[in-house]
């Protein structure tokens, strides 16, 4: 399986920097954004297939995690989102999952735990994509009347 492609979204610059390095060290393809809007821009620029998973901080200035999640899901329904949260915003994370987030993680988090969740999310995404491909294939064969 190809390593997951991840977009990290958090307003904490130092946090993002180090986590990017650590994930890269584990051979993940990692990009980052420091605000919800920047993340949306990156996703829009890269097309639907570049990123498998978005790791999204719940509490950010301007556009917060929940709002960003809603917009991501609106435009890129296949991309999986993992919510990153502090203790006090667990409710928001749960709310996020109701809105279609794949999972949530509490800060501070172990990188291995994050890695596991990233892999699973990626698997799920790819599974989805495959199913869609299959569906399309069967649709085509149906038309052909095989």
């Amino acid at each position: 399986m190809m390593e997951p492609s991840v977009l990290l979204v958090d307003d904490e610059v130092a946090f993002v920097e180090t986590l990017v390095k650590r994930l890269k060290k584990r051979n993940l393809r990692v990009d980052f954004a420091h605000s919800g809007q920047a993340a949306l821009d990156k996703l829009a620029a890269s097309g639907p297939t570049k990123f498998d998973v978005v790791v999204l901080d719940v509490k950010m200035p301007q556009m917060d995690g929940l709002e960003t999640l809603a917009r991501i899901k609106e435009k890129h329904p296949l991309i999986e989102v993992i919510m990153l949260t502090g203790h006090a915003t667990v409710e928001s994370a749960i709310e996020g999952m109701k809105q279609g987030a794949y999972d949530y993680l509490m800060k501070p988090c172990e990188v291995d735990v994050l890695l596991t969740k990233l892999n699973r999310a990626t698997e799920k995404k790819r599974e989805h994509e495959e199913k869609i491909l299959e569906a399309r294939a069967s649709l085509i064969s149906l038309r052909r009347g095989d």
């Binding site: 904490e12 180090t18 650590r22 501070p108």
Partner: protein
Amino acid sequence: MTPTDGAETRPARRFRVPTATAMLALFIIAPLVITGAVNLHQFRNAYRTKVSNELSVMIERHSLTVDAFINDRLSDIRVIAREHPLERLRQPEFLRLVLNLMREEYHGAFVDLGLVSSDGIQVAYAGPFNLHMAEYSAAPWFQEAMASENFVSDVFAGLRGSPHFIVATQRKVGDELYVVKATIDFEAFNALVENLRIGSTGFAFIINREGEFQTNPRFVVALNRPPWIDLLEGRVRSDRISVLDGEDVLGRKAIFTIAPLKQGQWFLCYQQETSDAFTELRRVQEFAAVVLIIVSLAAIFAGYLLSRSLAQRLADAYRDRRVMAHQVIETGRLASIGELAAGIAHEINNPVAIMVQEAGWIDDLLGEGDPCSGENLEEIMRAVTQIRTQGDRCKEITYKLLSFARKTDPTIREVELNDVVDEVIGLTSQKTRYANVSIETELNPHLPAIHASPSELQQVLLNLVNNAIDAIERPGGTVTVATKIVGDKVVLEVRDTGKGIPEANLGRIFDPFFTTKPVGQGTGLGLPICYGIVEKMGGRITVESEIEKGTTFTVFIPREAPEGDNVESETRGDRS
């Protein structure tokens, strides 16, 4: 949680035990004295009436007795004068016989017996004196006796030189007129009246219209003073019994009773000192006075006990209230910390997350084999610096939190309001960042220091700023904290550009437990506590609000600390 010492003595200062005791005792004693006085007055009147009635009755009885005595003696003489023929009456032996008979019968009331001819010569006489053939034509009594059928004289000395009086009756034989006369022993008559004694000062005597004593008064009587002078000069009715008040010769209050005798020619007089006559009344008065004193003492004692226990309870209640108010403020403070906690937990979690990542990164690098290769070493050092930076960040946050989470300290000291503003804004910065609220300050740098409790002031401002931030909805707004000087007050203003407070809620925002926040998020205690604290400082807090434009809370704080908490602020503070 100890209220200041002043707080415990304050109710005692307002509630004075001696004053309360006096008031209570007064409330008990005053009605007692009034009813007592009224009762006593009525009793005195009734008693006076009773005494004067008793005296009247007694004197009347005696006057009847005296009148009867005189009339009886007159009747005796009349019987003698009518029953016996003149010849017998002319015989001294016969008269002696009759006299002896009468003396036996009437215990010596009769002294002598005589027959006087119309020319005033006593033609027959029986008695202890040698008065045979005595000449009476010039004697007043004889002239009176000749003028009327029966006659009783006043008491006089006469020929014999000792006091006596005469009863006389006429006896007609043909054209000749004789007078039968008898002398009544003064002592016997005197005893009739003198024995009339009541109490230790009551005595009786008889006077005639001219003011001559007909009996011996037991004590000195001055007839030239009221009421006797009034009696003699005809100013007292002589046809019935009179009871009069006056003074005796020694100037003591006395009660006088006067009854007419002998068809108003004589008066039976009775005199008694009032205090003697009213002994019973005096005893009642003394008894009432003793009862009143005992009851008053009891009332004062009961009043004292009551006031003391009242004062104690008041002090207890006051202290409880202080403790309660303090607890409520404390609770509210913890609640506002709780509101902050969400933001602060995140604030701390961020640097912690970074530190964990950096540590993990170092781990990763160390696991690679050669940690001391130039690139790795540099990376490790950078990570360590980052960990230190983030640790400092954590420390700063916890310090800020701790500075607020310390117990509220009501101690009043000099406070720079601007410093408090800076502190509180520092504390809320995280919350504002995520709520897209920018905080602006308009601080007057020349603000004088005010006297207040810094932690309470902090709490007021934090509540107001928290509320202001909460009032601002997406997409955000501005909270302005301003300090300025208005007159002799230092003014703290918190303005927001939030949704505003509806008119209907404006009147209730300072009521405890009134909140528009969802359940679990607002205690409804923030503003009431602000209100309580500001009032306690001697200041006041006002609010202006416009829907969709924003709200401004203005706190006026006096430059000097109030001398003592005033009552209104106590009650108001209590509600928070």
